[in-house]
């Protein structure tokens, strides 16, 4: 008797239906978990194998060690390569950010004749495959009898980073509220003061983001660098060459450190932004 009443008052949903409803509701969450797992598998693998007591070739797990982390320069040439990549990255980022920001202000702030062809000139390097950019620049250097090496690589990196800087900074300029600048002008600030005290601080996060993007593009670039660096070794080139014989675990240490460093910078930036927003 009593069970019948219960059945009548609380209709039980069959298990299958409940399961499918749960899936329907959480499908995207489950998908997200799979997606992020997929993204992070090789990162986790690289990190795990940075602790491998591997000797020369880091293919098979042989045991846990901290030696690689204590001695990241242990593999021949690796820190030389890393140093070159960092130097090239800083120089390329500095030049590309300055040139790109100037272009972004011109296109984002002014109406002028040739504006749409300027946009095209910025778009074209992004629509050209890296191998064409690298090969064509090398041909030019060869014509002028300039040997590939450090400065040709810096020039190549500035060239392909400019467009990304322009696009990033331009997006930030477009999202500015023009009333803030009008207010500054109303308060008798002249053009230069308005730019320095209002516009520039507002655009600064966009410029910082563009610089971070430029550095990571430059630091990670292999194809264009391979064409224009000659005998100079950068970190990606080191990894590519070493791959044939087996990569030393120190490369995993450096790759993982870059990952954590970049993550820390991005999170710090987010925290600063959030505090400012309050």
């Amino acid at each position: 008797m009593s069970t019948k009443i219960k059945d009548a008052t609380i209709p039980t949903i069959p298990f299958k239906a409940r399961l499918s409803r749960w899936f329907g509701r959480n499908l995207l969450r489950i998908y997200m978990i799979f997606g992020f797992t997929y993204l992070f598998i090789p990162v986790a693998y690289t990190f795990a194998f940075s602790f491998n007591d591997s000797g020369k070739s880091n293919l098979i797990w042989k045991g846990f060690t901290l030696n690689n982390w204590q001695n990241p320069c242990g593999a021949p040439q690796i820190c030389n390569a890393l140093g070159n990549s960092i130097k090239i990255g800083f120089l390329a980022t500095t030049f590309a950010t300055i040139l790109g920001t100037m272009i972004a202000f011109a296109i984002g702030r002014y109406q002028f004749k040739g504006r749409s062809s300027s946009n095209l000139l910025i778009f074209l390097p992004m629509a050209t495959p890296e191998i064409v950019l690298g090969a064509s620049l090398l041909s030019l250097f060869l014509v002028f009898k300039i040997n590939p090496g450090f400065w040709p690589t810096v020039i190549a990196h500035v060239m392909f980073c400019i467009s990304f800087v322009v696009v990033t900074v331009k997006a930030r300029i477009a999202s500015l509220d023009p009333r803030l600048e009008q207010a500054a002008m109303d308060l008798y600030a002249n053009e230069l003061e308005t730019f320095r005290r209002v516009t520039l601080p507002l655009v600064a996060p966009g410029i910082a983001g563009a610089a971070l993007l430029a550095f990571s593009l430059s630091f990670d670039d292999f194809i264009i660098t391979n064409f224009n660096s000659g005998t100079l070794i950068t970190f990606p080139k080191f990894v590519y060459v070493a791959a044939a014989r087996g990569i030393p675990a120190q490369a995993n240490v450096i790759g993982s450190s870059m990952f954590f460093l970049a993550l820390a910078i991005v999170i710090a930036g987010q925290l600063v932004n959030r505090r400012k927003a309050r």
């Binding site: 995207l28 997200m32 992020f36 598998i41 690289t46 202000f105 011109a106 495959p129 041909s139 060239m159």
Partner: protein, 286 residues
């Protein structure tokens, strides 16, 4: 738009240094590349010495000798773009609409793998999927994979590697355009008795088209010219046009053919991109 009344020259002064740089190190090299592509070897000269002779036949030879690699590059790049779109769209959608206060963190996590050198990640995939990894022997023991079948050194591995490596380029523009959608348009669609699927198909997808266009271009273009995935994860049977250009330059020192191939690749991509943008109907790209 502009609130100041600037001197007419200001934008040009701002543009000048950057454009002078791009002109010298982007436009000039491309022009020079076009010139190189029609050169022929100097009779009796050393290897690597060429003279201008307007030999447009270079293009015909370059294309006919490598049409297989050209076809492969465009097929692989198209497949990688389609797979990346299929993986990235739900991901970007979930981050934009279903992640609440974790939005920023999740967005950082999409870009984060990007900071470990992409070569290291590609090589990690090679080792995970390779003969010495644990995955292939396990799958073989479970009879899910034939005893002779391998994953690396196949076209599947190359396309998978490309899909993986260009995923952030697809996800970020998609997220940017999805995030910009006014939630009221989606509510309005529901108020007009559209169900979830109809709303998604008729409202969300059309509004996210700029992101789809930008994402597919940012994936397809580098993928078509890529040779790193093919040389790490592939075999001689998966060579792409990038591999051919690279070896023409460095191993054979055949600059004219390399230049003709580069130029053909660039032209093919530009034509495809133009057609695609026309078809997708978005002019506002950058």
């Amino acid at each position: 738009m502009s609130i100041t009344v600037p001197k007419v020259r200001v934008p040009y002064l701002l543009l000048f240094p950057g454009f002078a740089f791009l002109f010298t190190f982007f436009i000039l090299p491309i022009v020079n590349l076009a010139q190189t592509s029609t050169q022929t070897p100097i009779a009796g000269g050393d290897t690597g010495q060429y003279e201008q002779s307007f030999a447009f036949s270079n293009y015909i030879h370059a294309f006919l000798d490598n049409r297989e690699q050209f076809a492969r590059s465009f097929i692989y790049a198209t497949l990688a773009t389609v797979f990346a779109l299929a993986i990235a769209y739900p991901l970007a959608y979930a981050i934009a609409f279903k992640s609440g206060k974790f939005k920023n963190i999740l967005l950082v996590l999409v870009v984060a793998p990007f900071f470990t050198s992409f070569l290291l990640r590609t090589i990690a995939w090679k080792q995970i999927l390779g003969e010495e990894g644990f995955l292939v022997p396990t799958l073989r023991n479970l009879h899910l994979l034939g005893q002779q079948t391998t994953i690396t050194s196949t076209s599947v591995a190359v396309v998978a590697g490309m899909t993986y490596n260009f995923l952030p380029f697809m996800t970020l523009p998609l997220y940017a355009s999805l995030e910009r959608i006014d939630p009221r348009t989606i509510e309005a669609s529901g108020d007009l008795y559209a169900n979830g699927i109809t709303t998604f198909r008729r409202v969300t997808v059309p509004l996210s088209m700029p992101g789809v266009v930008a994402g597919t271009l940012l994936t397809f273009i580098p993928a078509a010219g890529d040779y790193v995935n093919a040389s790490i994860l592939g075999s001689p049977n998966t060579k792409m046009i990038g591999n051919v250009i690279e070896s023409r330059y460095f191993k054979i020192v055949d600059y004219p053919t390399a230049a003709a191939l580069s130029f053909t690749l660039m032209a093919a991509i530009l034509i495809l991109v133009t057609l695609y943008i026309r078809k997708a109907g978005t002019e506002e790209l950058v």
